[in-house]
C-alpha cells in the first residue's frame, strides 16, 4: 500500500479492463515521473471524452452529436444494417471498406453467466429501426464465439418471424473460431464479408 493520492490512482487504474494490480502500479509511477504537460493532455482527453462523446441515438455507436458520423452520412446505404457487439467492431469492419451500409451496436452478446439476456442488449432499438420499412438487409456480425453465435441465432429467429421479407445474413467463417472480431485482420474480415451467408433459423 502506498500513501493517499498514489494509492488512489493505483486503485482507479486497477479498475480499468485488462489492467491488473501490477500494471496499475507501473502506470501510476510512469505518470508520477511524466512531464506535467503530458499529464494535462491525458486529463483533458479524459474529460473531453466524457463531455463530448455520446452514443448515437440511431445505432448506438460512439458519436460526437446525436447521430454518429456514419448514420449522418447520406452517401451510406441506409437499407442495410450490420449488427455488431461493440463500437470497436464497427471500427474493424470500416477498415475493410467492404461495407457501405449502417451499423447497429448491441452493446454485448447474450451470456447468461454474465447475466446478459436479449433485454440487456439494444435489440428493441433494432426492431424499432426495422419497423420503418426502409431496411432490406441485416447482416449479423457478432463475434464467432459461443455467445456471439447464440446472439446471432436469437436475432435471426426473431427477425425471421417478425420481419419475414428481410434478408438476413451472417458473416461467413474464415474468422478464427473462438476469437474476437476486432482481432481479425482486414483480409480475413473482408473475405468473411464477401462470403456472408443467409442464415436459416
Amino acid at each position: 500500500m502506498y500513501e493517499g493520492a498514489v494509492q488512489d490512482l493505483i486503485d482507479e487504474l486497477g479498475r480499468l479492463p485488462g489492467v491488473g494490480p501490477k500494471s496499475a502500479q507501473r502506470i501510476a509511477f510512469h505518470l508520477l515521473q511524466a512531464d506535467a504537460e503530458d499529464v494535462t493532455r491525458l486529463v483533458t482527453a479524459l474529460t473531453e471524452v466524457k463531455a463530448k462523446v455520446r452514443f448515437c441515438e440511431e445505432c448506438g455507436n460512439v458519436a460526437q452529436g446525436e447521430r454518429c458520423r456514419i448514420c449522418a452520412d447520406p452517401r451510406r446505404d441506409h437499407s442495410a444494417i450490420c449488427v455488431v457487439e461493440e463500437p470497436k467492431d464497427v471500427v474493424a469492419i470500416e477498415r475493410t471498406r467492404e461495407f457501405r451500409g449502417t451499423y447497429h451496436v448491441l452493446g454485448g452478446a447474450i451470456s447468461p453467466i454474465d447475466g446478459i439476456g436479449p433485454d440487456d442488449l439494444r435489440v428493441r432499438e433494432l426492431m424499432q429501426r426495422l419497423a420503418g420499412g426502409e431496411v432490406q438487409e441485416v447482416i449479423i456480425a457478432t463475434d464467432p464465439n459461443l455467445e456471439g453465435e447464440a446472439t446471432a441465432t436469437y436475432l435471426s429467429r426473431l427477425l425471421r418471424t417478425t420481419v419475414p421479407d428481410l434478408a438476413v445474413t451472417r458473416l461467413a467463417s474464415g474468422l478464427p473460431v473462438g476469437g474476437d472480431l476486432e482481432y481479425a485482420d482486414e483480409v480475413t474480415l473482408g473475405r468473411a464479408f464477401e462470403g456472408r451467408r443467409r442464415v436459416d433459423a
Binding site: 451470456s111 447468461p112 447475466g115 439476456g117 436479449p118 433485454d119 447464440a150
Partner: protein
Amino acid sequence: MHVRHLTLKDFRSYPSAELALTPGVTTLVGRNGQGKTNLVEAIGYLATLGSHRVATDQPLVRFGAAQAIVRGAVVRDDREMMVELEITPGRANRARLGKAPVARPRDVLGTVRTVLFAPEDLALVKGDPSERRRFLDDLLVQRQPRWAGVRSDYDKILKQRGALLKQAAPLFRTRSGKGAGRHTPRAGEPTTAEARESALHTLDVWDTHLATVGAQLLYARLRLLRDLVPDLAECYDAVAETDANARATYKSSLHEDAAKRLAEGEVPEIEELRVAILESIERVRDQEVERGVCLVGPHRDDVVLSLGDLPAKGYASHGESWSFALGLKLAAYRLLRRDLGDDPVLILDDVFAELDTGRRDRLAELVADCEQVLITAAVGADVPTRLRESGHTYAVELGHVSAHPPSAAAATDAVESESESAESGDE
C-alpha cells in the same frame, strides 16, 4: 513413439530432474512416496494436459514454487519433437512445440500420446459415471485432438444454459401463483409475461447449440465405444485367462426409445442424434426449469460395464474390477495403435502388485511388443523378471533416480536430478 528425455522443474516433489529414457521397458522401483508416480504423471500431463490423480494444477507445482515446467523430447518415426508446458495454477498453461510457443496449450495435444494405467483407474469400474465419461472423452481427444475443442464448447454451453435455467426459474414459478402480480412493471420495463417469453426464446437458442454440439460429442463417443468393445473383451480375457464376456454398453440420458437403440450398440447419424436430443429436452423442460440443471445430453450419460450377465459395478470382485479397468486401458492402447499406426507410450503405475502371478505373467506377455513401456513398482519382485530384464530398471529414492543395480555407465547417461536441499529459493 517414445519419450527419449524428460525434464522437470518444480514439478511435484522434484525441484529439477533430468530423465533419459529408451524404447522398450523401463521399470522405476522405489519405496512408497519416493517420486515414481510423479515422473510418469508428468509424461501423462504432456499427453493430456491433465493429471490422472488430481483435477486441479495446484498440487502439481512443487510446494512453495510458483510454476512448474515439464519438457519432453518425443521420438516418432525417427523424428524428434520437443514439447514444453509451463504450469501456473490459476492461469492458463503456456506451451511450446519445438522452439515456438503455440497459441493455445491444446495445440500440443497429439504430440505425445500415452495410455496410463494407475490404481486410480479402479474408479472406472467402481466410481461415478463421470469417471467413465472422462475415460471416453480423453480417449477421443487422444485419437483426434480436435475433440478437445468440441468438448470445451460443450462445457461452456452447459454452463451458459445452466445459468439461464437458474435465472428463468423464478419467472416460471410465478405462474403457479407464488408472488404473482406483486411486481407492477414500470413503463418500458418488460412485464413478467414478456420476460418469460424472452427467457423461453433465449433458452431455445441454447437448446439448439446444446443439441448441435452435444450430438457431435455423442456420435463420437458411440463410435469410439463400438470400436473399443471387441478389444475390451479380448484384453480382459487375455489378462484374466477366462472367457468372461466383458462388455461395455452406452447408457444415454435421451428419451427411452433413443436410449434403447444406443444401448444396443447402434450408432445413428449426427443429425438424428441432434433431433433426439431436442425431443428429449422438450420432454424434461419443466423439470429442468424447476431444478435449474440441464438434464439431457452427453454430460448425463454413462457406460455400463458388465461381466457375463452381471454388471461389474457392485458385483465384480476386487481383482476382477482391477482387471476390467486394465482391460479398458489395454483396449484403448490397441485402438490408438491401430488408428494412428503408431504405439502410444504405455504407462503402468503400480499395476503388478495387485495382480496374481498368472495375471502378472500374461500382462507381461501382452505388453512385450509395445514400443515403450514405463512401469513403476514399490517392490521390484512384483514385476515379472522377464519384463524387468528385457529393459532398464531405475531406483527412485527421495526424488533421485539412479541406475539399478548401480552401474556407473547407465547412471550418468540416465539421470541427473537435484535434491530438494540443493535448490536455492527462487522467485
